[in-house]
Amino acid sequence: MKKVEAIIRTHKLDDVKSALVEAGIEGMTVLEVRGFGRQKGHTEMYRGTEYAVDFVPKAKLEVIVANEKLQDAINAILKAAQTGNVGDGKIFVSDIADSIRIRTGEMGEEAL
């Protein structure tokens, strides 16, 4: 099994979710994160004091998939999350050793 972590624009979340569901993915977890990268943050000004806010709000999606669905998932995300502008985000893939469904105790790909 693989873990796909995708950092995307927050307002793309619904599109990406739909794309993943279409690609046959049935579960996923989303986190609110703040990202630092090529995309610039912004400055805020309070009573003349300027704050540079370098972190940009992003959504992070974690999807654990069976190996054979990995490519589908990646493609789905790529298609739905791309705008072509700096700040579209990244996808990171890593290995998952095991997975368990708490409700039933099922293990492995069964659990997804």
């Binding site: 307002h11 619904d14 912004h42 400055t43 805020e44 000004m45 309070y46």
Partner: protein, 486 residues
């Protein structure tokens, strides 16, 4: 950048003219003052001008009596003035925190500051404009169509050796009246902001509000409340004029219709219909609605311009209509959508309040309940069904609640008015007068708003760019965030 300069320039010009002239205004007032002093004979400092004029040739006894009478008048004025000053505070309270919270809660988090800023800045800007020229344009003189320039820079409202004139109403001074009306001048354009929230340029909003105030609001105000073409009971009025106790036509229809025009011209929010845009802070909206309810007592009961039975009645019907609006909207929603929502209850309260506004001084309690109930139900359909059918994006339902609710109220006033309250009964003629005033207001406010916005669109632009809209107006227009939880 250029639109920014335009905006600044406008403001600066207002001030550059205003400041030196202000000195002038004081000088002009001074002679008046002296005049009055000469005329007023008694030792009492409180004697008002009017009586002063009459007292030149009175016997000492008569003079004594007059002084005593004057004391009674002054005693009553203490009551009226105190009440009206409180009403002024209440109406300001409506704009912020009331409306600011109500509207602020409804937008997405990224635009909360922009909404608050619109309300707060208008509190500043419109008040200054009102003092400089708005009041004079709205309430100056006897013209059928427009005020005059007699009261520019509050001339004639300033103090002449301790006394303020009592021309407009015999119960409170002209200055009290002017402040009270000035609070209306703030909230009316602030209501419009609900329509183009989350995408309007701040600079254009500011300039539009000033122009709209002077070109749309002041005339309508003059027509209805200062003897103009829609004034009730004037011979020169169209169709006998309209009953509009506290601003159903002047405030709510005018702003509601302009809001509709504005949201059509500026276009839908990006992602409207596809992205979810739920209220980011419903607690603000509910609390803001409650504050509006409280403040509205100043708005409606204060419009009696005195603390008396009629004000009490206006207070009572305002309360009951709001209450019935809550019940109407909520119960209907409960039946139709299976759940009673807090947003529904809040919206129903506002619908009821808007609807009773023109009627507040003319109807009895039970009809008021009926009016609120009807407004709750019809506004519910307006913002749920009608808006979706017609497809415009009135972000915070400024038209759906104020335009529709105001129209319902104006028309029903023509039906439910009771002569026992204020000498006027509902009748076909009265209904016609109401209808004509609604039509005139809709056409004028809508038309002029359309022209104004078209011009502003060509010159400054109405709308922020896409990047700014996505990021939110808070950051792009104001460089601030509403909440920083970290």
């Amino acid at each position: 950048m250029s639109y920014l300069r335009n905006g600044c320039a406008l403001l600066c010009v207002i001030f550059l003219i205003g400041v030196p002239l202000s000195a002038l205004a004081q000088d002009v007032a001074a002679p008046n003052a002296e005049e009055q002093v000469e005329l007023a004979p008694g030792e009492s400092e409180d004697i008002s001008t009017e009586d002063g004029y009459a007292s030149e040739s009175l016997s000492p006894e008569e003079e004594n009596q007059e002084l005593a009478d004057q004391e009674v008048v002054n005693a009553a004025r203490a009551g009226h003035t105190g009440w009206m000053l409180v009403c002024c505070a209440l109406v300001l309270f409506m704009t912020a925190p009331g409306l600011a919270m109500f509207y602020g809660g409804l937008v997405r988090k990224k635009n909360i500051v922009s909404v608050l800023m619109q309300c707060l800045f208008l509190m500043g800007l419109m008040s200054v404009v009102w003092a400089i020229c708005g009041f004079s344009f709205a309430f100056g003189g006897e013209g059928l169509y427009f005020g005059n320039t007699d009261h520019l820079f509050m001339k004639g409202l300033t103090m002449a050796d301790g006394s303020l004139n009592y021309e407009i109403s015999s119960d409170v001074s002209d200055l009290t009246f002017a402040i009270f009306q000035g609070m209306f001048f703030i909230i009316t354009p602030a209501l419009i902001c609900g329509a183009f929230a989350e995408r309007m340029k701040f600079s254009t909003m500011a300039l539009f509000s000033v122009l709209w105030g002077l070109i749309v609001y002041c005339p309508i105000c003059h027509w209805v409340w200062d003897g103009g073409i829609l004034a009730h009971g004037e011979e020169t009025s169209w169709a006998g004029g309209a009953l509009d106790f506290a601003g159903g036509t002047v405030v709510h229809i005018s702003s509601g219709v302009s809001a509709l025009v504005a949201c059509i011209l500026i276009g839908k929010r990006m992602g409207f219909g596809s992205e979810p845009m739920p209220p980011h802070n419903l607690t603000y909206t509910v609390l803001g609605a409650a504050m509006l309810w409280v403040g509205w007592f100043g708005f409606n009961a204060g419009s009696e311009l005195a603390s008396n039975d009629a004000a009490t009645m206006a207070f009572a019907v305002t309360h009951l209509s709001a209450a019935a609006g809550v019940v109407g909207w909520t119960v209907l929603e409960w039946a139709v959508h299976k759940k009673p929502t807090a947003l529904g209850a809040a919206s129903g309260a506002i619908a009821g309040l808007v609807c009773i506004t023109p009627a507040a001084g003319f109807v009895q309690p039970m009809p008021a309940i009926l009016m609120g109930f009807i407004a709750g139900i019809l506004c519910f359909f307006a913002v749920t069904t009608m808006k979706n059918k017609l497809g415009y994006d009135d972000s915070l339902d400024a038209f759906g609640v104020h335009g529709i609710g105001g129209t319902i109220g104006a028309l029903l006033t023509g039906i439910f008015a009771s002569s026992q309250v204020n000498g006027v009964d509902g009748s076909v003629e009265q209904f016609t007068g109401q209808l004509v005033s609604v039509i005139v207001t809709v056409v004028y406010a809508g038309g002029v708003s359309w022209i104004l916005l078209k011009i502003l669109d060509k010159t400054m632009g109405l709308r922020v760019d896409e990047e700014s809209e996505t990021r939110g107006l808070d950051l792009s227009e104001h460089g601030e965030e509403g909440y920083i939880w970290l």
